[in-house]
């Protein structure tokens, strides 16, 4: 136990319930049995970290976003696809069972969509086998600064997107909702009464006037290709790739072989990549299919609001605002989409 825990006296929604010690005891119980990840404080930043490893959980600031989303646990920044030794291939060790506590609503939604994408067509085994061994505990969102899920439709929990959900919606009356059998088991020693997740929480909210016109966005993004707005964004963007790294719904990767001193031994790695980097679409001979930064930015948004929207009926942007928050020049999806709506206004609003 460390000093931080005693500071964690208040969680909005839990206030007055005096539930913090019990909550911590429950989490500690879980962590004694399997790896538990929870938002922790690291030099002033929030990160998902193993319970008990660092300064301690930051339960009183659950609303603040972590630097990297949960994708880092299921699609690690670097992972071994297989090891090899003298022409023999060995699969990596089986992934571990893990529990993640403290996912925001938009994060649960993004996690489901990322999983759907990985399961689509030809399943991505490394991701799915890891995800399949993960349990998620969501928590009512208190909204991070600069987030906008009401615009993207990722603003509600859907059935099947969590194992447990700590609903802090009604102040002083926390509820723990079950979303799966595994979640029900996990709740055994929880300090809250367990309820079944009912329609009222998983039903999509009535249509929100703030919501972007998602249905028409694929076509509008398509039509905006080549518009001056992308050049203007390109003039500001540094092409650093931060926005894709912190995004819960960016998953581009590349592969690389790494060898020992004996080159017959080593491993094939897969590592996060970013479509914002210059070499992303370069092929042998030096030809680059996306040489211009403006095109690369357009591609990032076309992935989210065109391809993902077309394939899964939801945009590949949860509205978490992390890209904006961590972008060194403050490029904000809200302004980008506003720009797209503006340049395509004529053809859609006549």
């Amino acid at each position: 136990m460390n000093s931080r825990e005693s500071e964690n006296q208040e969680i909005p929604g839990l206030a007055g319930v005096q539930a913090i010690p019990e909550l911590l005891a429950w989490l500690r119980g879980i962590s004694a049995r399997q790896r538990l990840y929870i938002p922790a404080d690291k030099g002033g930043n929030r990160i998902f970290e193993e319970f008990g490893l660092s300064d301690g959980p930051v339960l009183n600031q659950l609303q603040e976003r972590t630097v990297l989303p949960v994708k880092k646990l299921f699609l690690p920044p670097s992972e071994i696809l297989f090891d090899f030794s003298h022409e023999v291939i060995r699969p990596p060790a089986e992934p571990e069972d893990i529990v993640v506590f403290g996912l925001h609503v938009c994060e649960l939604s993004a996690d489901s969509l990322l999983t759907a994408n990985m399961a689509n067509d030809r399943p991505d085994f490394p991701y799915l086998s890891r995800r399949d061994r993960g349990l998620t505990i969501g928590v009512t969102c208190q909204r991070s600064p600069g987030c906008f899920c009401e615009k993207t439709g990722h603003d509600h929990v859907s059935p099947g997107s969590f194992d447990l959900f700590l609903d802090l919606g009604e102040p002083g009356r926390p509820r723990l909702l079950a979303g799966s059998d595994a979640g029900r088991e996990l709740a055994a020693a929880a300090p809250f009464v367990l309820e079944e997740a009912a329609q009222e929480i998983t039903a999509p909210p009535a249509s929100n006037p703030e919501r972007w016109p998602l249905e028409s966005l694929p076509e509008r993004i398509h039509d905006s290709f080549g518009a001056v707005m992308w050049d203007e964004l390109a003039a500001r963007c540094l092409g650093c790739g931060n926005c894709t790294i912190v995004c819960p719904l960016c998953y581009c990767f590349y592969t690389r072989d790494e060898t020992e001193l004996d080159p017959a031994m080593g491993r094939r790695l897969r590592l996060w990549d970013s479509c914002q980097l210059l070499a992303f679409a370069r092929v042998a001979g030096g030809h680059n299919f996306r040489e211009a930064r403006s095109e690369r930015i357009w591609y990032r948004f076309s992935h989210k609001f065109m391809r993902t929207q077309q394939t899964f009926g939801a945009p590949g942007c949860s509205g978490c605002g992390a890209c904006f928050h961590f972008c060194p020049v403050g490029i904000d999806p809200r302004q980008v989409i506003a720009g797209v709506l503006e340049v395509t206004k004529k053809s859609y609003e006549e």
Partner: protein, 285 residues
């Protein structure tokens, strides 16, 4: 746990783990271009392996890396498969060092090939540039083998210079079923054949656009010229099939490298009809 995943039953096969194949024969086809005849080390895989002309494999050497390479033999040949590799970088350079008995690793086949079954009864025109002849060779050999299924076959092929022409020893056997016309950009004085742009070959053959399907593979610079000529001749977009090159990593629509607007070139391509990619400004660059 995610409801999207199967709870019971066998885990999905790991897509990214390749299978080992052995080099049976290899020879230099042209400077920097090598041809390989291969078989799987696991005899069961040799039987199970099937593909379509125009599909590709992710080929790798452990410790060096992986790259997409088209299968250049016809699906009608069942015991072995063939690749044709241009030395372009690290992996391809290392592949060039392989000799009979050595092994490499492959996964796939991936992508959509040329829809030959739908072309039954039609004339076929193959338009190849440089190493683009490799995937076309698979389709040509397949059409030659199933010659009763198709009308007339025409191969139009262009390369930088005569020594870069691929599979020259096979043109005679193709000619037994159709025409082969060749052109090079530049040639030494002793060259007896044609020099110039590949589009010049459309002047020496007579084509019947209404009943002809066109299969194209070559460098991107070739596309606009060839497509322009085909349009003049009256070909319809739906009858023209093109194999697009893109940077590829996963081959299965997951890594996002190969995307052209709404298409995953690795999964929905590399072969796409002009009809499918009309309106995509970045497709043919």
């Amino acid at each position: 746990m995610s409801e999207m995943l199967p709870r019971d039953g066998a885990p999905p096969l790991d897509e990214y783990v390749p299978s080992q194949a052995r080099v049976l024969e290899t020879r230099e086809l042209a400077p920097g271009i090598r041809h390989f005849i291969l078989e799987f080390v696991d005899p069961g895989l040799n039987k199970a392996f099937s593909f379509c002309s125009g599909q590709f494999l992710q080929v790798s050497l452990l410790g060096i890396g992986e790259a997409p390479i088209s299968i250049c033999s016809p699906p009608t040949k069942s015991d072995t498969f063939e690749l044709c590799v241009r030395e372009a970088g690290n992996l391809t350079r290392a592949l060039h060092r392989l000799r009979p008995g050595d092994t490499l690793w492959v996964r796939g086949p991936y992508g959509q090939g040329f829809p030959l079954a739908e072309m039954a009864g039609r004339d076929l025109v193959f338009v190849g540039g440089g190493i683009g002849l490799a995937p076309l060779r698979s389709a040509i050999d397949c059409a030659v083998c199933l010659n009763e299924e198709f009308g007339e076959l025409t191969v139009l092929y262009g390369a930088r210079n005569p020594e870069n022409l691929l599979f020259t020893d096979e043109y005679d056997s193709w000619r037994q079923q159709g025409r082969v016309e060749v052109i090079v950009d530049e040639a030494p004085p002793e060259w007896q054949g044609r020099t110039g742009m590949i589009t010049a070959l459309f002047d020496v053959v007579e084509l019947k656009p209404a009943n002809t399907s066109v299969l194209i593979c070559g460098p991107p610079v070739m596309f606009s010229f060839v497509l322009g000529r085909l349009k003049e001749l009256g070909f319809e977009d739906k009858d023209i099939f093109i194999s697009l090159e893109r940077h590829m990593r996963c081959g299965v629509g997951k890594c996002e490298h190969c995307v052209v607007e709404s298409f995953y070139t690795c999964r929905q391509g590399p072969v796409l009809s002009i009809d499918q990619i009309r309106g995509i400004s970045s497709a043919l660059r």
